[in-house]
Subunit: 174 residues, 2 copies
Amino acid sequence: MWLGSTAQHAVRAVLYITEHGIDAPVRVDDIAAALDAPRNYLSKTLHQLVRAGVLRSVRGPNGGFQLADAPDALSVARIVAPFLPSQQTRCLMGRPTCGGANPCAAHHRWQHVADGVIAFFEETTAAQLLADNRTPRAAARVVRKKPRPVSRRPATKRPATKRPATKRPAAKRP
Amino acid sequence: MWLGSTAQHAVRAVLYITEHGIDAPVRVDDIAAALDAPRNYLSKTLHQLVRAGVLRSVRGPNGGFQLADAPDALSVARIVAPFLPSQQTRCLMGRPTCGGANPCAAHHRWQHVADGVIAFFEETTAAQLLADNRTPRAAARVVRKKPRPVSRRPATKRPATKRPATKRPAAKRP
DNA sequence: AGCTAAGATCATGACGATATGATAAATATT
DNA sequence: AATATTTATCATATCGTCATGATCTTAGCT
């Protein structure tokens, strides 16, 4: 609902990378297998996230994708933005002039609802979703509380995480 | 936002019909001109609303479209339903199994937001939107109140409104 | 240098949404 | 019955999304 399948793949892929990419990049093949998503199309999608500054990619052997920032500084809005239709109006009717002096018929009633949706996208972080996913029991409760604004600490450059030649469990087909 | 242009045309057209179709059907040409929407495509769209039971159509001279029910018994949801993508899941990720025992990562946080949107569509009526449109000043206030559930009175069959041969101001090109 | 494991990219196509223009069908008026 | 008016429908076109499969490029390893 309200997210195209590409954006849905993007969110789920980012969550997967957040969970499994702590010390080594995650391969597209692994993500595609885990999400049951088309491999090449997912590759393209992830690359768009690289261009958007959400992910970093490493080519060649032992390559893959990692988060560019800390998961609690990554809002769903940033993940989803590259895959939203370009003409983004907040007007239900799509009226370009809607607002302020010239509201469309639905403007005032819709505004509240739309604000809620925008807030969800802006304030929900990858870290929160992952935490919810790990403890579904607790998630049903946490959601009752007023959401805190997204952590704005400046993108904690992690110290390059030069991973020590982690021999992964070898390729699937040796 | 979140409504395709067809659905947007549908809502605006219904509002126009609600306003101008009190005692006589409204012609597609008039609606198309008022909305600046493509004439034939709008015709098709309106016909879909006829099939959905939202409008009634009258063919031939003095024909056009009228509401099938009273405006305060017509929710936005009913207007928009025929133009929504068929696979309607409330899950942000589109997971078919999302919910209850097997929630997706975003389920609990998203549910509240989605509920708000659903409620907007279900509880907002054509009559309300039209009233808001006529008094934009007051609309900014009314929206603060808790919305009342949609009036459910049983579709007031109006007594056929056989209009007395209303000569309309003639065609555009005589 | 050559092999191999990865991401990056390209050509192609299916599909639905959004139209456009022409034509068919219905009906009120004369 | 003929005509004019109005909706209903059909054939076709365009565009963006969502892919698929093949090929190119990068970089670690020996």
